[in-house]
């Protein structure tokens, strides 16, 4: 008996299996029938993909990111606000923060539209007063009793995921583009895993899993960020994080070893005996200190440059936009090192220049692909948060940033 099987009832996977096992020289017509059916299936699959892509928005145009701020203008704003802050013993710092952010956000332009910073100084001031009271209480408790200190640190640690979420929520709510606000939907449970549990667990893997934990943090932040009724989504690759971590680690290790050798050689050549001559000890200390700054800057430039590119390429704002970043590690290292030197030699006065030039650099290397959903984003109606959590989070150094 030789009955031709009814291939039309086969699934795509079954067809492929049958084609792989069939003896094509014995049954050429069956093999051909299978090939045709497989071909028709793959047509179907690609057209499904195309449909899905079409539903996610078609490409309209590529837009550069422009930063219009100037170092001179920003310096003047910054220094006058600093003076007013000092004269008012810090009260004015809330107004200073709002004006500084309004200047920086408002000068950032994509596709012909500017960003806006919407927070009110009084919101910030209220947050700052509460966070200052908590900070004072915390430092007092920690420095009067080590036992109370340990308890307080635990309390802060347990609260930190909540503070981070609330802080992000406020920061995003206060940012708008085209009259529509950003938002943040992250919740305590996941934040607890991402910011506390995972980093803690990497301890047992000797920090080797740290890149993976950092990837989880970035994914948490991006996947919970919204623009109006549209959500950002991203899927990052652990491999890239490991490579970036490895590159930063290896380069800084080599630099550190060379640096230590150089510092040692310099001291030896200057002819001083480190054990007896105090200037020898001091030059070693200073040399190591400078080396530490240098290596730290180098490592962070390598890591964040690589991660930024990866993150932008793999993030999508629903049918509104996709992103591209082409930061090169060499130029980014150059930028960060000159920033550090400028800050040190200007005793901090170069801060506005450093800020505007960094924004310029990053803007130049970023592109946004505008998709056709851009004109139909609708603002989501949610309550505006308060600044307290953000201020507390930043006072306790819990600020999170991407990359």
């Amino acid at each position: 008996m030789d009955i031709t099987p009814d291939y039309s009832t086969y699934s795509y996977q079954e067809l492929c299996d049958a084609r792989a096992t069939i003896d094509a020289s014995a049954y050429p017509d069956r093999a051909q029938q299978l090939d045709e059916l497989i071909a028709s299936h793959s047509d179907h699959v690609t057209s499904e993909q195309e449909q899905a892509e079409a539903a996610e928005g078609t490409f309209l145009r590529k837009s550069p990111v422009n930063f219009h701020g100037s170092a001179k203008e920003f310096f003047s704003i910054w220094i006058v606000n600093l003076l007013l802050t000092i004269v008012t013993l810090g009260i004015y710092s809330a107004w200073a923060k709002v004006r500084t952010n309004r200047y920086l956000y408002g000068n950032l332009e994509i596709d012909g539209h500017r960003f806006s910073y919407l927070a009110e100084p009084l919101q910030i001031l209220k947050g700052r007063i509460i966070s200052a009271i908590l900070l004072v209480g915390y430092i007092l408790a920690v420095s009067t009793s080590p036992m109370v200190g340990v308890v307080m640190m635990l309390v802060v640690a347990i609260l930190s995921p909540w503070l981070i979420c609330k802080g992000m929520q406020f920061a995003m709510k206060m940012t708008s583009y085209r009259n529509v606000r950003f938002g943040f939907t992250g919740r305590y449970g996941e934040a607890f895993l991402v910011f506390l549990l995972f980093p803690f667990l990497t301890l047992f893997a000797l920090y080797l899993a740290m890149p993976w934990a950092l990837k989880k943090m970035d994914e948490f932040i991006l996947n919970n960020t919204t623009y109006g009724d549209k959500a950002f989504s991203t899927e990052l690759s652990g491999g890239t994080y490991f490579i970036a971590g490895l590159a930063a680690g290896v380069v800084s290790m080599i630099t550190f070893l060379i640096g230590i050798g150089l510092v040692g050689a310099t001291v030896a050549f200057s002819g001083s005996e480190p054990a007896t001559d105090p200037t020898g000890n001091i030059s070693i200390m200073l040399g190591t200190f400078i080396l530490y700054f240098f290596v730290f800057t180098l490592a962070s430039a390598i890591y964040s440059g690589m991660i930024r590119n990866h993150m932008y390429e793999n993030t999508r704002l629903a049918d509104v936009a996709t992103f591209e970043s082409n930061v090169t590690v060499g130029s980014y290292i150059g930028l960060k090192l000159t920033n550090m030197l400028a800050l040190i030699f200007s005793l901090g006065l170069a801060l506005p220049w450093v800020k505007t030039r960094t924004l310029n650099y990053l803007a130049e290397r970023t592109q946004v692909n505008i998709l056709d959903g851009i004109d139909s984003v609708v603002a989501s109606q949610e309550q505006t948060g308060t600044a307290t959590a953000e201020e507390v989070a930043s006072a306790f150094d819990l600020d999170v940033s991407l990359g």
């Binding site: 600093l82 000068n107 500017r114 806006s116 700052r128 009067t144 006065l349 851009i374 984003v377 603002a379």
Partner: protein
């Protein structure tokens, strides 16, 4: 006056180019290019934030729409003029301060000067006030906790002979008595430690701890140890622990809130300046404690020379110092302290 701007609809990203005509108390909006009338808005109904730098002005209309327009001086003045009032507002505004070269230069000069003033005078004065309000019971609890935490970590029971401990304790008692201190809880303790070396420290409730290594370094010399005790009494008597805590808090807050907004660029830089500033505070307190010891030496049956000798013993056991220590150390340089003690001796 005619301007071109963008009109963003409330609650969505939809927008259009508009032409904006400025009349005395109202603006009229027309769409571009077909010039349909979009609306007339009274100045009193508009909300706008103050001007910052050269940013386009954002004007919120009463229906929630947002108008963004690159303004010139006329439009800026029109928008900043308070609703309804006909006279133009005074020239004074934040953005005019921020754009003024005179204010910028004045700020570059004044801001650092005032900052130094805050760190040198305002914060120390506030710290003294703060310290005077801390009740003794709180200091006592804090001291007990601290000592027991140290005992379980880096301190171990003293290995000195009992009779040496007893002899020294008696001598210290006589120093306490001779000074007629109004502070209640003065007492001395001995501890063995690997980590701290030759050292003595005071807890805010009046407990003063000597390490075995210090006693051995001065070869059980009760006179030198008493001179060191005077220095530690100075710390307790002038509430140095509480003042240092207050100064640390204030420094952290000043750095966080004055410079935190533009951070992200320089956390390491901020950390380093925090340490440098706190070292200066600590050095100043050490100098005050030295002054206390020198001023009360005679009352305790000692001389400033005894204090100089004690410091010299310490110097013999520590590495030499150079000028950079002035920045990186929590204590003033030993050689300066010794010189000061000798000067006090010769002026006696």
């Amino acid at each position: 006056m005619i301007y071109i701007g963008k009109l963003y609809s409330a609650g969505s990203t939809a927008h259009q180019q508009v032409e904006l005509v400025l009349d005395d108390g109202q603006i009229t909006l027309h769409s571009i290019p077909d010039r349909t009338l979009l609306g007339v808005h009274l100045r009193a109904s508009l909300r706008t934030d103050s001007r910052v730098g050269n940013l386009p002005r954002e004007v919120a209309l009463e229906n929630g729409d947002l108008l963004s327009v690159q303004a010139d001086d006329v439009l800026h003045r029109w928008l900043d003029c308070k609703s309804g009032s006909t006279k133009t507002q005074s020239r004074w505004s934040l953005s005019s301060l921020e754009n003024s070269a005179r204010w910028a230069i004045a700020s570059v000069v004044l801001a650092p000067l005032l900052l130094v003033g805050i760190f040198k005078f305002v914060i120390p004065a506030m710290a003294i006030t703060f310290a005077s309000y801390v009740p003794y019971t709180l200091k006592d609890v804090a001291s007990r906790h601290t000592l027991s935490a140290l005992d379980t970590t880096i301190l171990a029971p003293s290995k000195l002979d009992d009779d040496i401990q007893q002899r020294l304790t008696q001598r210290f008692e006589s120093v306490f008595n001779s000074l007629q201190l109004d502070h209640p809880g003065f007492n001395t303790q001995f501890r063995y430690t690997e980590e701290m070396g030759a050292n003595a420290f005071a807890l805010p409730n009046g407990t003063i701890v000597f390490t075995d290594q210090l006693v051995e370094l001065v070869e059980n010399d009760a006179t030198q140890l008493s001179a060191i005790l005077l220095h530690e009494i100075g710390h307790v008597n002038e509430q140095h622990s509480m003042r240092l805590i207050a100064e640390t808090i204030a420094t952290t807050m000043v750095i966080t809130y004055f410079f935190g907004d533009v951070s992200g660029v320089f956390e390491t830089f901020m950390g380093a300046s925090n340490t440098l500033i706190n070292n200066q505070f600590s050095q100043k307190l050490e100098t005050e404690a030295d002054d206390f010891a020198l001023a009360h030496a005679n009352a305790a049956g000692l001389t400033p020379q005894d204090f100089a000798n004690a410091l010299e013993s310490l110097a013999s056991a520590s590495p030499e110092e150079s000028d950079i220590n002035k920045l990186l150390s929590s204590h003033p340089m030993l050689k300066d302290r010794i010189e000061k003690a000798r000067a006090a001796q010769s002026s006696d």
